[in-house]
Amino acid sequence: MASKFLASPIRRFLAKAHRPSASWPRHLSTAAAAAEAASSVYEDPDAGIVMKGVRISGRPLYLDMQATSPLDPRVLDAMLPFYTARYGNPHSRTHLYGWESDLAVESARAQVAALVNASPKEIVFTSGATECNNISIKGVMHFYRDKKRHVITTQTEHKCVLDSCRHLQQEGFDITYLKVGSDGIIDLEQLRSSIRPDTGLVSVMAVNNEIGVIQPMEEIGKICKEFNVPFHTDAAQALGKIPVDVDKWNVSLMSLSGHKVYGPKGVGALYLRRRPRIRVEPQMNGGGQERGIRSGTVPTPLVVGMGAACELAMKEMEYDHKRVSSLQERLLNGIKEKIDGVVVNGSLEKRYPGNLNISFAYVEGESLLMGLKEVAVSSGSACTSASLEPSYVLRALGVEEDMAHTSIRYGIGRFTTEEEIDRAVELTVKQVEKLREMSPLYEMVKEGIDIKSIQWAQH
């Protein structure tokens, strides 16, 4: 313990004296050296943060609301009693701890159901939207495996939906991946013609997490009702942001996520229609909790948090929507005023305003992101960022490879301020101008040369 107190001032002295090199660990005891070598984050109110070789003076401003959203303090306030005094298991029937926990879970269920215009009996709590998508796709198709062998989904779905479909494909089911237009919206006629007598499920996400476009849910619902095909939607990004109504949309299954509506991470809810009843095969077997659909102890604090977040979302939806729309306009106009060659990916009209995915021409994406280290944004979705491939969603939109690589996704939310938007505009414009100045391609474009006609020399 004492070595940790010594390590910090010693290191600060050494850092001021000379560049930290392989020789400095010799000045410390082995224990301190091991402790410091283990931690690669160094936070100091004066020097800022050093992490992964990058130094920033303060915590970045957060514009990545589609990856996750900060916990609303009112939600935290609702959750804390269940982490401190009321820690009972909601399935314990014999004592007060269990009863009060159960009461809290049921009231949270009602709060979630109210936001989507469903009955509380139709909500099943899970560990997140990914689990909900797995239960919906694999569970439904496995249940009806004798009669139904076909699933229709889109090319721009979330990775977990596409992966579940691939798993089904390996089991012998047929999957149709609908193409999307350059605005990100599916073609309803193509959907209609893809439906076969043995189609067991249509899965289309309501609001896309990467580009933010809103699919025509009511029309898809009508088509599915006409052909009597169950309709599943991943509404994780849509919940609490646009009005979600299971009856208007005619959905049979809906995946909801807690941490996209300013709730806790690790909880989600699955809506399962009761009239007409949709049956699923459970993916988690056990004691039969949550109507046998999802066994396992229901995590009371997380579920209470999700319920509180949903109730807040219902109250604040209009206020937030107005504000986020005006912030999005401010961001887009601010950027477009200063630089050209800015393309918005996906339809601008049929879009949730809090998600702005822009491509900057003649700029390299990774270097743009590295330069924007004071703004927490993402390029492509968090799920696909491990590989170097451009996002499959942008490829499905027909965006060219070079534009797909330079796409940045700005996520605006309830807690974003005007000053943050202005700062983000300023930093983006500065970085793009700097990169374009260095770019030979941009020089050529300004001289009037058509880039596509260039013959690149082979080395």
Binding site: I56, D77, T417
Partner: protein, 94 residues
């Protein structure tokens, strides 16, 4: 339960609630939450300005008092776990 017994809050009480909310919002260590609380308080009181019947005024006042209690508790909790380094927005004066 509250609407029958509570009488309509006086103008002074409403103003005092407003000031308390803004003062407690200022104590949040987190930049985004602090700005949101201030903004939401102002917008909330602004939109309820035109309320005329006693029941809705009492309900809004009671809601405001609840929110004040929540803000007080959460300001303490956020300050207990505040990171050592502040947000970029609070540091640089551009």
């Amino acid at each position: 339960m509250a609407s029958a017994a509570a009488k309509s809050p006086t103008r002074l009480e409403v103003l005092s609630l407003f000031r308390s909310l803004l003062r407690t919002a200022h104590e949040f260590s987190d930049y985004n939450v602090r700005e949101y609380t201030k903004r939401r308080t102002i917008d909330g009181f602004q939109s309820n300005r035109s309320l005329s019947d006693q029941q809705s005024i009492s309900a809004a006042y009671a809601n405001g008092k609840e929110q004040l209690a929540i803000v007080k508790r959460q300001a303490v909790i956020y300050s207990l776990y505040a990171p050592k380094v502040k947000s970029i927005m609070e540091l640089k004066s551009v």
